[in-house]
Amino acid sequence: MTERFTEKLLRFHIPLALFLLFLLFPFYWMLVTTFKSDVELYNLSLNPFYIYTWSLTNVKHLLLDTPFLQWLYNTLFVSIISAFISLATSLLAAYGIQRIRFRGSGFVGVGIFFCYLVPPTILFIPLATMVFKLKIWDSLMSLALIYPTFLIPFCTWLLMGYFKSIPKELEECAMLDGAGRFWIFFKVIVPLSLPGILSAGIFAFTLSWNEYLYALTFISSSAKKTISIGLVTELVRGDVYHWGPLMAGALLGSVPVALIYSFFVEYYVAGMTGALKE
């Protein structure tokens, strides 16, 4: 009994605890820094892992003296729109490639995958030209339209894998029952793929939420920035890091994503492992 307990402790609980410590420490650091006053923060003789006097100055500064709330809204707006566009497109694309046998469907699938492999550092220059010509420079629409360029390939591949796990017979049976392609798609495929669709959606949402390079390139006015660039460009002045508000921003910026993940974690796992289990 005790032997088994020790074994479990050694092989499971202790490694897990170390892992958690490693993962959660940055969040703890953010939290601690957020609620410290500058005096305490820069006093090296104090214990850095502990808050002696709680202070809301950093949060107040972030919310009142910077356009953080505007950034939050911008990020939400861009993430939701681009996730929605990407999901709608890649659902149809993935279904088409996976289930409608047409000449070159395999090639299209691989082609889409290659699109995903091209790094944004190469793409942002030609994309900048396009954004400029479309006259959406320095607007949220530029991001909402550019993000799907890497989200669609990603979601398409994720959903293709999911659709593959749905037995073909379900569709064939529906076909014989008199259903057309779109009916089958909406009444059979979509309900069965909900876990996959949700995880693709979450992925698309977080990838746009965290995106940095395109946001940095295409947005210049402060009021149109997203959180990821707003914090870095407005709270780091030259070589001065405003650690307090910076960490407050990082904390508030990561909360929505963490919430979404924890709400849908079950679907998310099911979506990743694929498969309809009967």
Binding site: P167, L170, C173, L176, D177, G178, L192, E278
Partner: protein, 363 residues
């Protein structure tokens, strides 16, 4: 009238021929069984009738209508799949009502029809459950119900019983047959199980490597197989095949092999005359070998018993006759032990003869 007519139907995948020269007429209300080993093209043929596979060449008619280019949803056929293909996110009721809703049938009628069908199949109490909460046998019934409730022109069954355990399979076999009799619809049933084929089919098509081998009523296939493949596929235990040659002088012919010499009955002499002094393959069904009292009787063979396998109603004997290994299915009362000698009597009028090269039956 909903006969199904196939004319020279062919299906190829690239260079691989899956089905070739498939021609037949399935009569209205007939229960037709396609049987054969896996990969013989039976399921492909069924799927072509359903419209789930394109037809490479040839024509298929349902009723009077050429359906080569008709999409599956307009063919008015229902299919039961091997893995049931129930929609996991819908209740049993919704599963069964799926096709009716698509036909825009009024809600009231859908409800009465689904309920009536569920009653026939004994699944009324599960209507509100999802497929996940059902056993294999119950799922099978739901799949059947979903097909039946629509009352299409033609029913297609793709090995519907092969996922059930042996006992349930026998029970469902009977129920399906009864259902067919009450529904009076043309049915095509695909199976690899020859017993299922024999017990259920009005007629059977035996297929191998994409080609039809023989079409006929169950007993016709059993008693008059056209070639060695059909002879070996139909019947259990499998027919014994012995390399032999035809011997004899004048009108009298005999079939001779190592350890056995059997006279050939008069009605078969005509066909076998050209094979005199030539090699043939002799086929004897285990059921046509019975225990005999003495070597005096006609058609007796001396055999050494190797293994005794009682199955209750019969005893299967693995015997050695000369250098040939055969199986005999003898009466359960026969007193016999392994390593004994036994005298077997062959049913001479039921002997089968096959050409060694073409493997066709000699008649």
């Amino acid at each position: 009238m909903a006969q199904v007519i196939l004319k020279n139907v062919q299906k190829t995948y690239g260079k691989v021929i899956a089905v070739d020269q498939f021609s037949m007429e399935i009569k209205d209300r007939e229960f037709m069984v396609f049987v054969g080993p896996s990969g013989c093209g039976k399921t492909t043929t069924l799927r072509m009738v359903a419209g789930l596979e394109d037809i490479t060449a040839g024509e298929i008619y349902i009723g009077e209508r050429l359906i080569n280019r008709v999409p599956p949803k307009e063919r008015d056929v229902a299919m039961v799949f091997q893995n049931y293909a129930l929609y996991p996110h819908m209740t049993v009721f919704d599963n069964m009502a799926f096709g009716l809703k698509l036909k825009k049938m009024p809600k009231k009628e859908i409800e009465t029809r689904v309920k009536k069908t569920a009653e026939i199949l004994g699944i009324s109490e599960f209507l509100k459950r999802k497929p996940k909460a059902l056993s294999g046998g119950q799922r099978q019934r739901v799949a059947l119900g979903r097909a039946i409730v629509r009352v299409p022109k033609v029913y297609l069954f793709d090995e519907p019983l092969s996922n059930l355990d042996a006992k349930l399979r026998i029970q469902m076999r009977l129920e399906l047959k009864k259902l067919h009799e009450s529904m009076e619809r043309t049915s095509i049933y695909v199976t690899h199980d020859q017993i299922e084929a024999m017990t259920m089919g009005d007629r059977i098509v035996v297929m191998k490597d994409g080609f039809m081998q023989q079409v006929g009523e169950p007993l016709e296939l059993y008693f008059r197989p056209t070639n060695r493949f059909v002879a070996s596929f139909i019947g259990s235990p499998t027919m014994n095949f012995v390399d032999a040659h035809i011997d004899g002088s004048g009108e009298d012919l005999m079939v001779v092999s190592d350890g056995l010499t059997l006279p050939i009955p008069a009605e078969k002499r005509g066909a076998l005359m050209p094979y005199r002094n030539k090699e043939i393959t002799l086929g004897i069904r285990p059921d046509d070998l019975s225990a005999a009292g003495s070597m005096e009787e006609q058609g007796t063979i001396r055999a050494a018993v190797v293994v005794v396998q009682p199955v209750g109603s019969q005893i299967y004997l693995d015997v050695k006759i000369g250098s040939n290994n055969l199986i005999a299915s003898v009466n359960a009362q026969t007193r016999v032990k392994a390593h004994q000698e036994i005298i077997l009597k062959a049913q001479l009028e039921n002997l089968h003869f096959f050409d060694t090269v073409s493997e066709k039956a000699i008649r």
